[in-house]
């Protein structure tokens, strides 16, 4: 083949350009850390990467939902723990009050304590997590028990948090069941608070038989709270397990995403260095080839 000067210079230029192009590409990969910077770099990879990114964003959201759910449930749990110990104190007081030898004034003092516990329980029924009344079902803007002791504007619907694909877990405890309220609005207190009211008035009226008859009701109330708390505890366990799962799922997905879209630094840096050498070699060879022709050797 006949070789002309143009051919030499053009092919040198082309080789330099392509070496530079590869260097540019690798430099982009190295500085961004991503192997895929546009869909055409790896169409199949980008589809996976986008699906993973969308999944990761969901999982991260579920994680934050699970955190919020646990916060909600732990607050509920500790409130219910306080309730249990308060009701146990009520039972102690009732046993004390049922003692026929007790003086009227002593019964009055016991009744005062029962009343205080009753007020305290009423406050607990309206505990808020953030701006939510936590025992009011989905009517989170309404108190479970109004100040006059009547119930209830709330409902028994579960507050559910989404913590997985089509997986919503109830985080709330049904306040109506917990406090033994009837679901319709009633002017007089029912359930737990009504038991305490009766206890208080029986104590004040020195009705020790009435007080001892109430012990069974108090036990039922305590058992109800303990049962509800046990149910909540089971859900807290489940939520903690889900949180752990979501953590490891998120880590796995991040790993997968990284293996799809991230650049293999060691390999790319090595490639880059060898490409640089190729480029330098092309330059120095070019400098030698382009310059001389027969013209340089003629007088």
């Amino acid at each position: 083949m006949r070789i002309t000067n143009n051919m030499l210079s053009q092919s040198l230029l082309r080789n330099l350009e392509s070496a530079q192009g590869r260097m540019d590409q690798m430099q982009n990969q190295l500085s961004s850390g991503h192997r895929i910077s546009r869909p055409s770099d790896d169409p199949a990879g980008i589809q996976n990467a986008m699906r993973l990114k969308s999944n990761i964003s969901s999982v991260e959201q579920w994680k934050s939902n699970a955190d919020a759910a646990l916060q909600f449930m732990n607050t509920t749990d500790s409130t219910m723990g306080d309730m249990t110990s308060m009701l146990q104190r009520v039972r102690e007081l009732a046993v004390q009050g049922a003692n026929g030898t007790l003086a009227t004034a002593d019964r009055g003092a016991i009744a005062d304590e029962v009343d205080q516990i009753s007020t305290q329980l009423k406050m607990m029924a309206n505990t808020q997590v953030g701006s939510k009344y936590m025992f009011s079902g989905t009517a989170t803007d309404k108190e479970l028990i109004l100040s006059d002791g009547s119930a209830s504007q709330a409902n028994g619907q579960d507050i559910k948090f989404e913590v997985g694909n089509n997986l919503s877990i109830p985080v709330s405890v049904n306040g109506q069941t917990l406090f033994g309220l009837t679901s319709t609005n009633t002017p007089t207190p029912t359930g737990m608070l009504s038991t305490l009211n009766t206890l208080s008035s029986d104590l004040r009226s020195n009705d020790s038989t009435g007080v001892s008859n109430l012990l069974g009701d108090i036990d039922t109330t305590i058992n109800n709270v303990v049962d509800q708390r046990a149910g909540l505890g089971a859900r807290i366990n489940r939520m903690t397990a889900i949180q752990g799962q979501l953590d490891s799922t998120s880590t796995n997905m991040q790993d997968n995403l990284s293996s799809i879209q991230d650049v293999d630094m060691a390999k790319t840096i090595t490639d880059f260095t060898s490409q640089q050498n190729v480029y330098k070699a092309a330059l120095s060879v070019g400098a030698k080839i382009i310059e001389p022709s027969l013209v340089d050797f003629m007088r």
Binding site: M1, R2, I3, T4, N5, N6, M7, Q10, S11, R14, H34, I36, S37, R38, P39, S40, D41, D42, P43, A44, I46, Q47, A49, M50, R51, K53, S54, N55, S57, S58, E60, Q61, W62, S64, N65, A68, G130, S131, K132, S136, G137, T138, A139, T140, D141, K142, N155, Q157, I159, K160, F161, E162, N165, N166, S168, Q261, S293, L294, V295, M298
Partner: protein
Amino acid sequence: MNSTFFGLELSRRALESQQVALNITGHNIANANTQGYTRQIANLTATTPDSIPAMGRNLSLGSGVTLDTITRARDAFVDRQFRSETSKQQYWGSKQDSLTKVESILNEPSDNSLSSDMNQFWTAWSDLSKDPENAGARSVVSERAQELTDSFHNIAQQVSDLKENVDASIKVQITQINSYGQQIKDLNDQIKRAEVAGDSPNDLRDQRDSLVDDLSKIVSVRVVETKDTTFADRNVNSYKVIIGNENSTSNNVLVDDSTLNSLDTNPTTDLNGLSGIAWSDSTPVDLGTKLGTLSADLETRNNDIPDFEAQVDALAQGIADAVNALHRTGQGLTIGSGGIDFFTDGTYSTSTPSALPGVTAATITLNSAIETDVNKIATGTTPIDGTTTVTAGDGSIAQAISSLSSGWNALKSLSGFTNTISASSLSDFYAANVAQLGVKVQQADRMKAGEDVLVTNVTNQRESLSGVSLDEEMTNLVKFQKSYSAAARMVTMMDDMLSTIMNMGITK
């Protein structure tokens, strides 16, 4: 017996011929870097010999040299290959260019892309489902929805701009084809005049070939050069340039010798208000497939961009349909705020049409009623009596909407809803479209790279044949110069010889 001065004449011819050959070498050196220049060759031939009688027979005595022709080192077959590969290379180059632009408009994968806007939109709903009574979470949903619609509008706007750019470029190319045709026609006239006069106008032919090379970037070109039979004794050619599909039955001749058949520069517009391609007599042009930038631009404008627009529109519609269908079943914090659409086509706010609104990427808008009052975002199910109390903490609708990020389960319970998106989720649908675009760009990249190699090969072949090698020219220079010196020496020698003859009769 031949003439005494025969040797002088012979030397003169040699001097003259070597001088012309030297000039041609100079011309080659001068044009070593000229685009489209073809190396010229001095074809020296021996002149007709004299017949001299010698001892009862005739001998042919060489009578010297003359310059027969000056020809171009050019191969029509390589030209044809070069133009055909150029058309293909330019087709893929132009395709790659436009598709890469679409790819950049999408800006995937990055944190400022439609996919990240979509993800943020779904997570905002999930956040809202936890705290439906929280005005902050409501505002976030509203903001994310506006970011999402802004992204859609941006993509729609940029793609439509791109389409207009491509259309403008098509018009420019039509004008270019006409201009090349006109110049080729003019050169045909000049070349023919020279040829009729017995000349072979090499540099004009170079110019014409160069024009055809340029033309082959825009459309596929075929050149037919035939001998003009009107001139039996001279070498006169007719030059015809055919563009477009070679196998087409329609008449695709752009230039036939001295007639120019130009393209319609202001062609009738098609349904979308875009220009088509036709000859000036309105017959359509068959451009062939995958050849030249014009065909690539037409395909981009008529198929690739509309396809892409349709996909983005389908995504916008899919999101609006799914969100609206669920949103309509719920209600916000204000009594009676149920049943409205979340996304609209921008033409209504509180009144709700019975059918889900038809939206496109350009028209999808957050319901302005929601934009002004975020409490109208439906988060919970509508209470049974429909008018009285609103359950503030019910996040079931918000949850259903956020679950659209991973599939269609939330929509299964809705009667009368037909899902128009054929993918496992909206993000999957979008990802599949992005991947499809990626495949197209990748194909264009690879085809372009492949054609680049072929064009390089053909260019090398052509350059190898037609290009100027300085080494070779310098060698020729020495060769012709030495021949010239030798011929001059011959004249000196003849002069000596003649002096000898002249001085023969002179006595001192």
